[in-house]
């Protein structure tokens, strides 16, 4: 190890030719989509986390004297119930706040479960190729042949709907996009020289997968994760709307919309408020996903 130094002069005093790119934080705050998305998402997270502290009422308490009170900006509204009440007199503001918890819980847990399943399958298929790839492709194709909503309906019909059932069903079904995207991203990265260099250095397969491949397919993973989270939230809302997801009296936004459909024409806020909340949350998630991909892309590129 103690060598004579080599004769080539080190290019010591020379400036780096490439100008320093703006830092990650700068790039993040310079990206309008990302900032808006983070704001929306942050708002929903705040709602969910702080619900017990801010909610003026218990979301399950019914008050049949105070049914269908409009929100405060309409006539007949009052600050006692800033977002009005529903047909059972439950305060809508409180229900909306607690509804955020359910939506975020669903989004996060389905994203995690399906993400782990799909990413593992995709990484393995992309890295090993050959027969492993054929098997995984077959599994993916089999899964793609199944209509998610129908399977969810069937499961719920058999076991009955609940938050846990929805989470598990969606989590075990919605991994296909993860698998497909991770597989192709892994295949691209696999053929790069730094993976070969790591293998030539004697790294074990696990080390190569975790240390070389995974960090470089991460941007793709983030984008898919956000899309799937948004999609899971919307699916749960749809299932609950159909009566096959979360059961009343849980304040799931989808369920709130379902319960409000009879009162749509005269008490439109019953649908508009949870609908807006859903749209805002999913929009925020997607903007964050796109924004993160844009921000990390130049660094990921050579």
């Amino acid at each position: 190890m103690m060598d004579t130094g080599i004769a080539t002069p080190a290019p010591a005093a020379v400036e780096i030719a490439l100008p320093k790119p703006p830092s990650v934080a700068r790039r993040m705050f310079g990206h309008p989509g990302l900032v808006i998305g983070l704001a929306l998402l942050g708002l929903c997270v705040a709602m969910a986390v702080l619900a017990p502290l801010i909610a003026p009422y218990d979301p399950y308490t019914q008050n049949l004297d105070a049914r269908l009170i409009p929100p405060v900006w309409l006539e007949k509204g009052s600050w006692a119930h800033p977002l009005g009440t529903d047909n059972l007199g439950r305060d809508y503001f409180s229900r909306t706040l607690y509804g955020a918890r359910i939506s975020l819980l669903i989004g996060l847990s389905v994203m995690l479960i399906s993400g782990i399943i799909g990413t593992t399958l995709g990484l393995v298929a992309g890295y090993f190729g050959g027969r492993v790839d054929l098997v995984v492709n077959f599994i993916i194709t089999a899964r793609l042949a199944m209509p998610v909503v129908l399977v969810a309906l069937a499961v719920v019909a058999m076991i009955g709907g609940s938050l846990l059932v929805v989470i598990l069903t969606l989590g075990l079904l919605k991994w296909d996009r993860f698998a497909v995207v991770m597989r192709s991203a892994t295949m691209q990265v696999r053929s790069l020289d730094y993976v070969a260099a790591a293998e030539a250095a004697g790294a074990s397969r696990l080390r190569v997968l975790a240390g070389e491949i995974l960090p470089n397919v991460f941007p793709h993973l983030i984008v898919v994760a956000t899309v799937e989270a948004g999609s899971a939230i919307l699916l749960e809302a749809a299932l609950s709307f159909l009566g096959l997801g979360v059961q009343p009296p849980l304040p799931s936004w989808g369920l709130m919309i379902a319960e409000a459909k009879n009162f749509m024409f005269f008490s439109f806020w019953l649908i508009a408020i949870p609908g807006t909340a859903l749209a805002a949350l999913v929009l925020g998630i997607n903007l964050v996903g796109d924004g993160l991909r844009d921000v990390f892309a130049p660094e990921g590129r050579a």
């Binding site: 190890m1 060598d3 004579t4 130094g5 080599i6 004769a7 080539t8 002069p9 080190a10 290019p11 010591a12 780096i16 030719a17 490439l18 320093k20 790119p21 790069l192 020289d193 730094y194 070969a196 260099a197 790591a198 293998e199 030539a200 250095a201 004697g202 790294a203 074990s204 080390r207 240390g211 070389e212 960090p215 470089n216 991460f218 130049p298 660094e299 990921g300 590129r301 050579a302």
Partner: protein, 326 residues
């Protein structure tokens, strides 16, 4: 002269799918190569696209299994040698400085990886060794915590060389290490490689399509065409008197920077070598200006002519057929 690596008649084929209704084609990337890499030499491997030199490099490194034939290092089949031990004896330097470094790792971590895999010493000791390796290739320590995207192509290639040397291997397999670099940077890297070889007694397998560079660096040269070694000789001999028609055409096509000489005409047809459709007999015969009947039907044996070994019927005619070990 001890042989560090023996390559014994290795072949490598790939199956190429061509759609649902066409049967898969066989790509003969390497079609029977036998070579030895001797201690302390620089074995240059030259050839054009489709000749199989990169596939050969990956097989030597143990990154790609052979379809048939064996590669032995120090007498042992490399399939028997544990990965870590192989990594201690042999390391690669690849062509593309932009894809040979993990963009998400810092320079120091990249160079430290082979040491981490070996698992010797503490993390700090390994980091110190990595920084020392960077210093040896001319990159000051302040680069250690940068990312590859902040370095130029030449600097990245230095990092790749530092990574290759950090386990103190005996053999470095260089796959076109300067082809993606500018001329002025290329000469720096070539000088570096020459100095390192002299200081550490390294053995190089140097793959390149740039004949001027190979002539400057290599002690022996193997010329490959469509998966076979068509000529193998010491550098001076192969450049002074090439025996195989392909080698002659290749050397004649090199454009040395001397004005007034015009553009050479090597007399080859406009056909390109296609490893999916290797011609019968001698793979070079469709383009060979000196082909005759036997070339179309029989694969030439390897013949020794002086210090060179050639796979050509013309050489066979000059001497009786005699199997030769490269």
């Amino acid at each position: 002269m001890s042989d560090l690596i023996e390559i014994d008649d290795i072949k490598r084929t790939f199956r190429v799918r061509r759609g649902m209704f066409t049967p898969a084609a066989t790509l003969n990337a390497v079609a029977g190569v036998s070579l030895a890499v001797r201690k302390g030499e620089v074995l240059g491997i030259v050839g054009e696209s489709g000749c199989g030199k990169s596939t050969l490099a990956r097989m030597i490194l143990g990154l790609l299994p052979t379809t048939s034939g064996a590669i032995r290092i120090g007498g042992r089949d490399i399939r028997q040698v544990p990965r870590r031990e192989l990594a201690r004896r042999m390391q690669p330097v690849f062509q593309d400085p932009y894809s040979s470094l993990n963009p998400r790792r810092r320079i120091c971590d990249i160079v430290r990886l082979p040491l981490d895999v070996q698992g010797n010493g503490t993390r700090d000791e390994r980091r110190a060794q990595a920084i020392a390796a960077l210093d040896k290739v001319g990159l000051p320590a302040r680069y250690a915590d940068n990312f590859p995207s902040q370095l130029s192509g030449g600097q990245r290639q230095r990092v790749a060389i530092a990574r290759a040397l950090v386990t103190e291997p005996e053999i470095v397999v260089c796959d076109e290490p300067t082809s993606a670099l500018d001329v002025s940077v290329q000469s720096q890297i070539l000088n570096l490689l020459m100095d390192l070889r002299r200081d550490r007694g390294l053995t190089y397998v140097f793959i390149s399509h740039n004949l001027a560079v190979v002539e400057h660096l290599a002690t022996r040269v193997a010329v490959m065409y469509l998966g076979r070694v068509v000529e193998l000789a010491p550098t001076a001999e192969i450049f002074a008197s090439p025996k195989h028609p392909y080698t002659q055409a290749l050397l004649a096509s090199v454009l040395t920077p001397m004005p007034g000489l015009g553009i050479p005409d090597a007399g080859l047809g406009s056909q390109s070598p296609d490893p999916l459709n290797v011609p019968a007999g001698c793979p070079f015969h469709p383009r060979c200006p000196k082909a005759f009947d036997r070339c179309r039907t029989t694969v030439p044996h390897i013949t020794t002519l002086g210090a060179a070994t050639v796979a050509c019927h013309l050489a066979e005619n000059a001497r009786p057929v005699q199997p030769a070990i490269a």
